[in-house]
Amino acid sequence: MRSLKGKRPIPGTIIFDGSQAIRGYQLNKMCYSFNKAENRDAFLKDEDGYCDKYGLNDDQRAAVKERDVLKLLGLGGNIYYLAKLTGIFGLNMQDIGAQQAGVSLEEFKAKLLAAGET
């Protein structure tokens, strides 16, 4: 997004602006389709074919295969759409939070609990 140009980056954070939206359009469109159970099933049956249908690029395919949320974010994925992809593998927001933060689920939860103790 133009208006983010020259802004100081926020550590550990990717803002989903126009540039990211351009990069990730097809990826997010695929993830949006996972609102429907039949599409989730179709993806599970033939992951490559499903990625073909939505025209994902090679990097995006590889990151989908690795279930690597940080990579997918970098490739234009938006977290709300990506959650519909990771949901297929039984990963919830806390699971992918831990994955992105690079800690175990227990550590991730413990950090949040600690933030609750003043």
């Binding site: 208006s3 990717i14 949006y32 938006n78």
Partner: protein, 282 residues
């Protein structure tokens, strides 16, 4: 004429819906969160509002990036909840008030707000979780008609905090000019501080949230000094949802009383807040 009798600010994360589905309200993890809603339940029970204007954001159920509205308002007779992909059980449909919706839309467009008008609209957890939280029993939920007001806080650029406050003020004028004998509440939902994406996932900011809650009644303009980008740094990219509380706050005007408040970390990856205002002017 319609009366805006009060407003509530509330979190709306899916995990709450999950906890309600599984009846975990008195579980030690959840009890400090749900107890904050008791004053709201009592107030709703006493006031029995006829209509709720629910300010929320869609998280990828009804809207996609092919056409992402800044502000969308429902004008349907019924709103369906649906499968969001990761397992929350859809709730029963919600009854709309198309006449009131069209009055609101007319008034706002006349006031130079560029509304997307929705005669068909699925509502996601951002809408359903607050409904379950305000009206835990189906009977209460069925009694209140709803008008969804959906805000873009997914795709930058989001509306500015200032624009949200102004939209709220215009909503307040629109309610006051509606010729029907109705008690109306407005719910501002989302937030408070949280970050779902990136290495900083799990970030919360008690200090900022607390100041936001402290200032919301008498100094809502305080939030306007932060751009949405600066807010993302402070409260996380998803914490910026708190700008939707300003729409609720703007609608209420300045003759209000804070009846209750609660703040609790963590609920899933978020800091959860709830605040109840009553309008003294009506």
């Amino acid at each position: 004429m319609a009366r805006l009798i009060g407003g509530v600010g509330s979190s709306h994360v899916p995990a709450i819906g999950n906890a309600i589905e599984r009846n975990l309200q008195s579980d030690p993890y959840w009890q400090p969160f749900f107890k904050g809603y008791e004053p709201v339940w009592n107030w709703m029970e006493e006031k029995k509002p006829d209509v709720a204007i629910l300010v929320y954001n869609d998280h990828g159920l009804n809207f996609f990036l092919d056409a992402m509205p800044t502000f969308a308002i429902g004008a349907a007779a019924e709103y369906q909840n649906a499968d969001e992909g990761w397992g929350l059980k859809p709730l029963d449909p919600f009854q709309g008030d198309p006449e009131f919706s069209w009055h609101l839309i007319d008034s706002l467009v006349h006031d130079e707000f560029d509304i997307t008008m929705c005669q068909e609209m699925k509502v996601d957890h951002g809408f359903t979780v607050p409904m379950s939280l305000m009206w835990p029993r189906q009977q209460g939920r069925d009694r209140v008609k709803v008008i969804p007001l959906c805000v873009n806080v997914v795709q930058y650029p989001f509306p500015t905090a200032r624009r949200c406050l102004k939209l709220g003020e215009a909503v307040g004028r629109a309610v006051a000019s509606y010729e029907a004998d109705l008690d109306v509440v407005i719910l501002g939902t989302g937030g408070l501080s949280h970050q779902l994406d990136g290495q900083r996932a799990g970030h919360t900011n008690r200090e900022f949230d607390t100041e936001f809650l402290d200032r919301l009644k008498d100094d809502p303009e305080w939030l306007l000094k932060y751009s949405n980008y600066e807010l993302a740094e402070k409260v996380g990219p998803q914490g910026v949802e708190m700008i939707m509380w300003l729409i609720m706050r703007g609608a209420l005007g300045n003759d209000i009383r804070e009846l209750s408040r609660n703040y609790h970390i963590p609920i899933s990856n978020t800091a959860a807040g709830v605040i109840l205002f009553e309008n003294e002017a009506v």
